[in-house]
Structures are given as structure tokens and as C-alpha cells.
């Protein structure tokens, strides 16, 4: 048994070094690794039996999709989830008027796996009335209110020629995508060494394209919480490449380009969970994985334990810093766990008691380079919905909210709003602070790649650690967002199914 253990540990060391050999396949390994000094297993213990073929950690889209595929292939699967709800980054705020989506919102016509699952489970998709966010913005730049119609001729407009018609909230997506070197390439091209030269700070990339400093500053308003200098250009180039890849080429049969789940996107993870033979267990915060003799023991914060022959782990990579692995994770994978980060977005939801925009005669929605970034009166999805508004902060300004309680966030947002827009004072009623990061289970909205990380980590994200297989949006190859989650769950499930 001891020999097996040693071989096993060597296997893990190999796996972490990027060789992705399975634990049980290491007889050729010659190198003694430091971790082989770990204590031998307690031979007094009876052999541990797996309670399930596969334990799936995380009941978001990736974990649930993997669980469904594994079950269809005959595996006995148990899904466990840290939060007291399903869905992860799909979360319909059912208690907020108008039931806004707090995270994953639009289902693109190209979201093949997601659409297929929605249809299979008998859910309905629709295009809500009013569509996306189509009220015009009132820009507040350097303290000046600027209407969209005045922007082209305004002295604070940093662009030249025809570009002056480009509105500030479109700067980041439009200018980043110009001459995108990934255009025309397959969706996995971003992983190829030929594009590593773009794994540099995004602001640096833009300067090399002749974009001026004020334009870069305005692009920085709504980029991830890391800001332009901490975001790899290839992260942004990939983002817009994926966005544009199928636009104009793939649409729903009714000609629309996106839809939502009728009744709220949260109905999808609920239906996925409901289709499984074993009901997912909620409130199971995973704190450790321990693999012995091909069985992985999963320990939860409430003291409960699960044992599986395989694990599918959809925990966001930065949250894995709080999870222990035995044998240890080392090498590139460990560096990725320690260094990768997620964008942070904070939403402060309000009920609008009186239409403040009627009081001051300006557009209701604000896009600002100040501390609140965006404040939007939500488009009503049903005529009976009351007016509701969201302060939505996702750029570098969002980091400070990590230091605040929900009440403090409300206090701060109300104070800054009243300074910028006095008519909002007393016009708003607090509803809820929402962020996918404001509990121990979430990391943020999307993973973002810092300069140099694509080259270093991007091809290691999918390596298994013994019998633990990783999925989640951060491990996706071709897609991003919700479809990226599905793609990753499919890949992780196939890793198990095809190696059986």
C-alpha cells in the first residue's frame, strides 16, 4: 500500500507539472518528489468505499451540466453546493420587483448546449418587452453632464473624425475589437502561442494602436475591477472575438439574437437539478479533498464527508485558495490558483419612489467616470412592474465595496448619487445589494486574465489533479459566460466518461 501511495504521489506531482498523467499511471516516474515523504496511510483503517461514482462540487451551470451528462452515461452522481441556492452565477432576484437577473442574463442564439438543455427540460425562452438596456445614457464626465446628442461636438470627446459619434459606453467594446487579430480565427485560437505577443497590458496594446490617453481612461471605467493595466489584451480581444464570432451568422428560428428563460434564468439550474436522480445537497461548503487509493474524500465545512471515484470541481479558481488538497497541488496549477482573479461587479438595487428624472428634466440613466460608474433605471419587463433602479459598478471602482457591509454600500451609493444627482435624494428605497462575490463561495463575475497569464496558465486550466477534474467558466476554451460554463462541464464529464 505504501508503494502505491508513493507512486500515486509522484503521479500527482507529474500532473501538477502539466503532464496530466492520471494518478494510477506513473510507474515510469523516476523522480522522487518531496511530497512522497508524506505520512503513509493508516493501514489499520478499512478500505474506504466510494459513496458515488462522481461527486460534483458546485450546482452552477457547469457542474449541473456535467452531472446530467454523467448520469445519462450511467454514472451515479451526487451534486453538492456550498450556497443555500442552486445556479451559481445564474441568479434571478425573485424577490426584487421585476425579477432582475443578478448575473447571467442573455442566452445567445449560438449558446448551443444551453439552448439544447433549456429545450430538453421543457422550459420556455422569450424576448422580454423592451429588450436590453435601451434607455439613452446621460454621461457624467469630469463632473459635466453630457447628453448623447451633444457628445459628438463636446469638448471632452477625445476622439477624432467619424469616431466622435461613438458614445463613451461603447468605447471599450468597439475600440478593443478594432483590427482584432483573432478575427476570422477559430474560437480557441487565443490559446495558440502565435497570439502570446498580445498577452500584455491592455492599455499598452491600445497605445501601440495609437489610442490616446483620455480614450483609454474612459475605456477603463467599465473594464473589469483589475483595470486596463492589469488586464491582458488577449483577454479583451478574446472577449470581443467570441461576442462577434456568430453575430449576424446565427440567430434563433424567430430571427432574434438572444433570449431569456421565461420566469427567470434561475429556472434552468433548478430544472437541471430536478432532472437528476440524486437531489443536489445545498449548504455543503467544500473545505478539502483527499485522495487515497483512487477514492477522493470531500470534506465540507459542516463536518460532512462524501467519497467519490471521481470529483468534478467547479469551484472558482481563486476560491480554491481556501480548499486543501491532499496530495498537494503544486507547480503551475498552484500558481494559477494563487494568482488568478475575477472581475468584481456590485449592484445596489433600489425601488424608485418618485421619478427623479422628471424633477430635473435629464435622462434617467447615468454613465459616469465617477465612483458609481453606472446608474440605470431598469427597463420594465412587465408593464405592472414598479420603477426600479440599479447602481452597477464593475470597473476598478468596485474593489472598495469589498471593504463594506451591505448597509455601508447603500450609504455610500446614496451619498455619491445625491452629490452627483441631487434629485435622487429621498427618491429611492433600498432593496438589495447583489454581487457574485459577496459570500465565501463566489469569486466575482468572470475570470479575467492578467498580462502574462494566458501564456502561463491558459493551457493548464483543464489539467486534472488525480481523480479531481476541474470545470467552470474559467476553464472554458471556445465559449465564455454561461455557454462557457456548459462547455467546461461537458469537457470535464467527457474526461471521465472517455477514460472509463
Amino acid at each position: 500500500m505504501k508503494t502505491n501511495r508513493r507512486k500515486f504521489i509522484q503521479g500527482i506531482a507529474g500532473a501538477s507539472a502539466g503532464l496530466i498523467l492520471p494518478a494510477s499511471c506513473t510507474t515510469n516516474s523516476k523522480k522522487e518528489s518531496a511530497s512522497s515523504e508524506a505520512p503513509a496511510i493508516h493501514i489499520k483503517n478499512k478500505p474506504i468505499k466510494a459513496s458515488h461514482d462522481v461527486i460534483v462540487v458546485g450546482a452552477g451551470l457547469s457542474g449541473l451540466h456535467a452531472a446530467m451528462l454523467l448520469e445519462e452515461s450511467g454514472y451515479d452522481v451526487q451534486v453538492i453546493e456550498g450556497r443555500q441556492r442552486l445556479g451559481g452565477r445564474v441568479y434571478t432576484l425573485l424577490d426584487v420587483p421585476g425579477k432582475p437577473e443578478a448575473a447571467g442574463e442573455y442566452i445567445g442564439a449560438n449558446y448551443a448546449r444551453m439552448i439544447s438543455t433549456v429545450n430538453k427540460l421543457g422550459l420556455e425562452m422569450y424576448n422580454p418587452e423592451g429588450g436590453g438596456n435601451n434607455r439613452p445614457w446621460l454621461y457624467n464626465i469630469k463632473g459635466n453632464y453630457i447628453d448623447a446628442k451633444n457628445w459628438e461636438s463636446h469638448k471632452l470627446n477625445p476622439l477624432e473624425g467619424e469616431d466622435r459619434t461613438l458614445l463613451p459606453h461603447r468605447f471599450l467594446s468597439t475600440i478593443s475589437h478594432r483590427d482584432n487579430p483573432l478575427s476570422g480565427k477559430p474560437l480557441d485560437a487565443w490559446l495558440e502561442p502565435e497570439f502570446h505577443k498580445y498577452d500584455i497590458p491592455h492599455d499598452q496594446y491600445l497605445r501601440s494602436k495609437g489610442v490616446n490617453e483620455e480614450t483609454i481612461r474612459l475605456m477603463n471605467v467599465v473594464i473589469h475591477s483589475g483595470g486596463m493595466h492589469r488586464t491582458s489584451a488577449i483577454n479583451e480581444l478574446r472577449r470581443y472575438h467570441v461576442m462577434h464570432f456568430s453575430s449576424g451568422k446565427i440567430s434563433f428560428p424567430d430571427g432574434t439574437n438572444w433570449k431569456m428563460v421565461k420566469g427567470g434564468n434561475s429556472l434552468l439550474p433548478e430544472a437541471m437539478a430536478g432532472s437528476l436522480k440524486n437531489e443536489p445537497h445545498l449548504g455543503k461548503t467544500v473545505v478539502g479533498f483527499k485522495e487515497e487509493n483512487g477514492i477522493v474524500q470531500v470534506s465540507c465545512a459542516d463536518g460532512s464527508e462524501y467519497r467519490g471515484k471521481h470529483i468534478i470541481c467547479s469551484i472558482p479558481i481563486s476560491v480554491l485558495r481556501n480548499v486543501t488538497f491532499e496530495p498537494h497541488i503544486s507547480g503551475v496549477t498552484k500558481e494559477a490558483i494563487d494568482q488568478m482573479d475575477y472581475g468584481l461587479s456590485v449592484q445596489a438595487h433600489f425601488l424608485v419612489k418618485e421619478p427623479f428624472w422628471e424633477k430635473d428634466g435629464m435622462e434617467a440613466n447615468m454613465w459616469t467616470d465617477g465612483p458609481l460608474e453606472r446608474f440605470a433605471v431598469r427597463t420594465k419587463r412587465n408593464k405592472t412592474d414598479p420603477d426600479a433602479a440599479i447602481a452597477y459598478i464593475n470597473g476598478p471602482e468596485s474593489n472598495k465595496f469589498r471593504l463594506m457591509t451591505d448597509d455601508q454600500v447603500f450609504n455610500y451609493v446614496e451619498m455619491k448619487l445625491a452629490e452627483m444627482r441631487p434629485s435622487t435624494k429621498g427618491a429611492l428605497e433600498r432593496l438589495i445589494i447583489q454581487s457574485c462575490e459577496r459570500d465565501v463561495h463566489g469569486a466575482g463575475d468572470w475570470v479575467y486574465w492578467q498580462p502574462g497569464q494566458v501564456k502561463k496558465f491558459a493551457n493548464h486550466m483543464r489539467n486534472n489533479h488525480g481523480n479531481i477534474h476541474f470545470c467552470g467558466e474559467h476553464t472554458s476554451i471556445m465559449e465564455r459566460g454561461m455557454e462557457g460554463a456548459f462547455e467546461s462541464g461537458e469537457r470535464a464529464a467527457l474526461d471521465i466518461i472517455l477514460n472509463a
Partner: protein, 169 residues
């Protein structure tokens, strides 16, 4: 299969030995899960057919396609493609009767300009090239697929597709 391209070939042989008991167990589970009762804990309201449909009685088993690897490989395709006559197009076209067909000619599906212009006739050989790297074979295709790199997996999937897309007599 996506990450497998970097894996050592020895891996499969060894893991298949080691997982042979798992295979058996899986088989037993498949054959017994028809009787498996779900605990009565109705937290989730939406019930679906897949919960009560025993795996041993799904359609593809009725056709007695014994190509297990091919069937498993098709998991990577199923989100986009139906195979049977009369089934809807999904994000990708229905592949009924695909072998011997000219590319981009199935009615009711909007193909990319690139595939329309490709002049490909789908044969074992061309389908193999396509499933290995669609965008490498036909640049600018709108099929977003990472590709199947292992030859035995390609072969199994081709055999599976041949059987499942066969034109009904």
C-alpha cells in the same frame, strides 16, 4: 476529449485496465437504474422525463448500436446536432443522411458562406478531417468546435454517425 490531445497514449490502456471494474459497475448501474426509486424530497418542482426514463430504454439503445465509444463521443456533438429523419435543426444542422451528401445542402439550415463554397462531399475521409479541426479544414466556418484529435475516437464516432444517420428504407 478536449484536453486529451496532450495526454499520453499509454494512459488509455492503463486506465482501461484499472477502470475495468468501474466499467462493470457502470454497466450494472445502467441495467439497474430503471428500478431505482428517487427519494421523496420534492424541493424542485420541475420534473422531467429524464428522471424516470431508464437509460437502458433510450432510443439509441433500441437501435442496438453497440458502439459504446462512438456513442460517448457523440456527447460532444449532441448539443448542436440531431441525427434522425424529421428532427429539428439545432445550432447545427440535422445530420440525417449525411454520408455521401454535398456540404451545406440540407434544407432549412443556414450554412456559412465558407462551407457553401467548400465543395466538400461528406465521406468517411472528409468527415474525419472535419471533426478533427473544422476551422482548420474550412476556415470561417461558423461551427464552434474544438475538434477530436484521437484517431480511434474519430473512427468510433464516424461508425456511430454512419449507423445513426443511415437513410431509412
Amino acid at each position: 476529449m478536449i484536453t486529451l490531445k496532450t495526454k499520453n497514449k499509454k494512459l488509455n490502456l492503463k486506465t482501461s485496465k484499472i477502470f475495468y471494474p468501474l466499467f462493470l459497475l457502470t454497466f450494472l448501474l445502467i441495467s439497474s437504474c430503471g428500478q431505482k426509486e428517487k427519494k421523496e424530497e420534492p424541493t424542485f418542482n420541475i420534473k422531467t422525463e429524464s428522471k424516470t426514463t431508464p437509460i437502458a430504454e433510450t432510443n439509441s439503445d433500441k437501435t442496438q448500436n453497440t458502439n459504446v465509444l462512438g456513442k460517448r463521443m457523440f456527447i460532444a456533438c449532441a448539443a448542436c446536432h440531431n441525427l434522425k429523419k424529421g428532427e429539428a435543426h439545432k445550432v447545427g444542422p440535422n445530420l440525417y443522411g449525411i454520408f455521401g451528401k454535398k456540404s451545406a445542402t440540407t434544407e432549412g439550415f443556414e450554412y456559412s458562406e465558407a462551407l457553401k463554397a467548400s465543395g466538400i462531399t461528406w465521406s468517411e475521409e472528409t468527415i474525419r478531417k472535419w471533426m478533427q479541426d473544422p476551422a482548420g479544414y474550412v476556415p470561417q466556418t461558423k461551427m464552434a468546435f474544438v475538434g477530436i484529435k484521437k484517431e480511434e475516437q474519430q473512427t468510433a464516432l464516424i461508425e456511430y454517425l454512419k449507423e445513426e444517420t443511415k437513410i431509412e428504407e
